[in-house]
Symmetry: T
Subunit: 70 residues, 12 copies
């Protein structure tokens, strides 16, 4: 593993339930096209409000995956 290279992409996931679900949604969406996903680091969390009511939890995450391994 000593010379592997990872790439990091930034995604925003959403969920009406929780920031954990929002993060899972972002990861699952990335998992449709990328293999070897490793870690999703939370950058920011927010909550959208509709009609003055809490509505959607959003998590902006940096997601790393293996690009090359030795």
């Amino acid at each position: 593993m000593t010379e592997s290279v990872y790439k990091i992409i930034e995604l925003v996931g959403s969920s009406p339930v929780s920031w954990e679900e929002a993060t899972k949604n972002a990861v699952n969406s990335a998992g449709l096209s990328l293999r070897d996903l490793r870690i999703a680091e939370v950058m920011t969390l927010d909550m959208k409000i509709d009609n003055n009511q809490p509505a959607v939890f959003r998590a902006r995450v940096k997601l790393s995956f293996k690009l090359l391994s030795d």
Copy 2:
């Protein structure tokens, strides 16, 4: 919407259950007196501990709402 002005206030909400509930409590409390709430951005999260036991989740959020619209 091209010349609207938003104001941002900072609140700390609390909940014995989760940071999502803590954020909702802050937003609902603001919703009692403000209209057109838009987004609650999480600044910091912490957990108060009582008698050496996890007790209260707190979320410090910046909350934006429309002040003027064109």
Copy 3:
């Protein structure tokens, strides 16, 4: 309380369920050997991914406890 001194340590807790549980696990583990725990401040949150599936929530926290009191 005017001259008390607090110490702050940094821990990473994990949970398959949520960041709230991950934080509680870190606090409970610290509570085995430390008294007068006060606040756990979240530094970073991330999610480990195994076999391309969301797996473990981790919370890095700074935990304060009373060292000396007047």
Copy 4:
């Protein structure tokens, strides 16, 4: 001026033209109800995109004004 107190509020101004105009709009909107405005510090700048075309410049600013003077 040695014991005056200033308050700082946070606003987001918008303009289809520039970030300078966005900032001026935020300041002018505040000037409708506040006197002794002093400085608008830029926190963040962004640009909203509509129909894949650049549309609105937004400036988030912290605006200070005199609350009390000696």
Copy 5:
């Protein structure tokens, strides 16, 4: 205390003597109209210079106070 909501405002206090006095002045000025003040967190400190001589200490603080309690 588990569902109380706090608001945070930002003030700049001044004093010819020290940053402690500058902070106290900001807090005392807020205390004229707000109850249940809790903590003043220092954001930045600076010193104004007049006629090339140190003149006024200024403290920019975030001040929290209770908005709602359960």
Copy 6:
């Protein structure tokens, strides 16, 4: 919109005229291959200098666009 996923990429746009034009150039270049662009957040601004004269304005932006929607 409650479970949509956004991706964020980072670009640097340039313009001899202004940072607004530099940002528009980055967005327009991205718009050649990406749909549903949403917001360009300014990360940093600088100005290149040639022959000791101000020459080119550059804006480093994070650009978000919709990846998946529910």
Copy 7:
């Protein structure tokens, strides 16, 4: 001194008088059990308020001390 190792711990000191005294209290408390203290770096300063009156100055510091020397 070329291969010495230092450890850094984080403390919060308090004082009714000043942030200098708060920092000294943290250092003196650490000095009861640690030798070769070197520098206390201020992380954050705040002021606790009781009964709407300024009450206690607190300084959160990182304190370094020699662990090993060559």
Copy 8:
């Protein structure tokens, strides 16, 4: 160019027109005494307000120039 050394100085430029002009003014002022100016990085932007009206745009920049070349 592999062993050249650059120096970086910090300036604040002003303009009644725009932050681009404010930055150019800072660079042009530095160009009176320094050669081989390279890049002006924006640190902060603000706007001074006089008589409650937007008045002067200011840009705080870090300006690099070549000190030594190989």
Copy 9:
């Protein structure tokens, strides 16, 4: 060069030898598929430890390359 657009991607390179080699590995891996690479900015550096022994140096870098030129 006044209207060129650059893209920035984030990579983590590894090396058992040094952070310089880790960065080179990330750049060389990117160079397999991208032309006109320009600068690799270090975001974070760390060292993985295996069996309680220093093992692998890792560098997280932002890598810019030309997307469009005028």
Copy 10:
């Protein structure tokens, strides 16, 4: 004052008494060779410890002064 240019330098002042005195010492030392000093912004504060006893307060400040005025 609309097109004046300011320069900013960084100094560390020391005092056995307080951070206010440390800052004044830095400013007074700069005032020996520079005119039109304006503001000293605190970057960091620390305290040196000698023989395990609090010894010297140090303030790292950014000091601005007028370079050119219109």
Copy 11:
């Protein structure tokens, strides 16, 4: 591994040779008393200068190790 807890300590290592050696020295010193060391994250790097000559490389690192595992 889903409920393990890690602790993070902060060390400064030194070396006349390189920041890699400085980091290894900090890790090796910690390894004398701690097991299950995992990652050393670089916080800051600096170089001490003696007699106006580069002398010692120092790395301030955060070092994590396993406290509890499930």
Copy 12:
């Protein structure tokens, strides 16, 4: 040493070999005209790439030196 004043300047050094050499080059260049250099703190590290090959290591450092001593 209790009332000495230090000045801090910012330099970028380069080297085809390593960031340690880049930092030494910056320090040695400063040492041609300044005495009593003390510490070079690393602000940022990057690597320039020529013809898609790693080429030059650059270190941006803040360098402190004694201005006045008591």
